[in-house]
Amino acid sequence: MQRLISLACMMVLGFGSAASAQESDLFPTIPKALYELETPHPDDIRENHMNYLRHDRDATMRLGDRDVEFSLKSCVDCHAVRGPDTSFVTIDNDAYFCKACHVYAAVKIDCFECHNSRPQAIELTGMFGADDMDALNAYLEEISE
């Protein structure tokens, strides 16, 4: 029994190598983020994202500390998923990032009853291809003098 539980934990938390052979069958398909981090830490985030978010939301909301490490807005901005019509999908869509694991693990998400589940300001990165980046940067350079 103990083995079964720890195996289940491993699968849910994605302790990669041990279960990687069966990933395609047993693991939810997790959509790719828009950006990559310098030091990816998916295991930590999978296990602890709710605690990090709760800690930092209290700091921001109650104390006005906006220089926190974790914010739901940043999660949403980076883990945005496009639907067939290329616009970003909302939490109502089964392709939504959070749903991949939450549906799999049958854990209800309350966040988006109040928070917007779609990225806002970052919409631009999708509208421009990598080729446009140089032009944009030249413009930014110009106006930032």
Binding site: G64, M133, N137
Partner: protein, 251 residues
């Protein structure tokens, strides 16, 4: 000011983890063309709410024009609440109130919102601790723990809070709001934390009426404190001893 450059998806790896995950304060937004906004990360971070500060508003009723609702529209746009055609239950973060003195016939019009009381009864009665006052005097609802009991709505003498009856979608990212919780004027806390003033004050200035002043009541150098020290002002229902942060002139 030097703006950080954009990174394309593939060479974004040098955005540090901490820097990237940081929330709004350190973002720079640039409007390139209508509807196109570039957002970049970087720059110095904002400090926490300062307990030495007490944010407040001063509203000059003589300058508040009778048919003007610029502040109400600005608040609605900024924070994403709308009329849904159910006046009995629609959210009202700010409203225009018309007064008429039957003896003299004097008619006045003024904007009323959460008065950000120093001794807020909405905080006293809240059974969960969701209704709270920030160190800088801004009174807010923590919707994560609000159970929607509406005690605070009963306790507030200014009818400043609204209950959300319907599911809400497409909220403003800086103003989360959802069914089953209570809400009210936040004094545009997301703007204040970035060094801006509330949307209503900006809108009032844009109309040219200039009836609202926002500032730190505790800073004797601030315009609001100078005005309060120079001219007579009043608080609505000052008899209640709540010491509101919102003050009125010529009321």
């Amino acid at each position: 000011m030097k703006l950080p450059l954009l990174k394309s998806k593939n060479d974004a790896t040098d955005i540090g983890r901490r820097q990237f995950l940081k929330s709004g304060a350190a973002m720079v937004t640039v409007t390139l063309a209508p509807g196109v906004t570039v957002m970049a990360y970087g720059g110095a971070a904002a400090a926490q709410a300062n307990p030495a500060t007490r944010w407040g508003l001063l509203i000059d009723v003589n300058k508040c024009a009778k048919d003007c609702t610029a502040c109400v529209s600005a608040c609605s746009n900024e924070n994403g609440w709308q009329d849904t055609g159910n006046p009995a239950t629609d959210a009202q973060w700010i409203r225009k109130v018309e007064l008429r003195n039957p003896q003299t016939g004097l008619e006045q019009s003024l904007a009323v919102m959460c008065q950000h009381c120093e001794n807020p009864p909405c905080v006293d009665v809240c059974p969960t601790g969701a209704s709270f006052k920030r160190p800088d005097g801004i009174v807010l609802v923590d919707k994560h723990i609000c159970i929607g009991c509406r005690y605070c709505m009963m306790a507030c003498p200014y009818k400043a809070r609204s209950f959300i009856h319907e599911p809400v979608t497409d909220q403003k990212p800086h103003a989360p709001r959802g069914k089953g919780t209570v809400e009210g004027c936040t004094l545009c806390v997301h703007r204040v934390d970035e060094g801006q003033q509330p949307a209503c004050v900006d809108a009032c200035n844009t109309t040219g009426n200039g009836a609202m002043i926002f500032g730190d009541l505790n800073d004797p150098e601030s315009e609001i404190a100078i005005q309060l020290a120079t001219y007579a002002s009043s608080a609505i229902r000052s008899d209640l001893g709540l010491n509101p942060g919102v003050r009125y002139q010529n009321l």
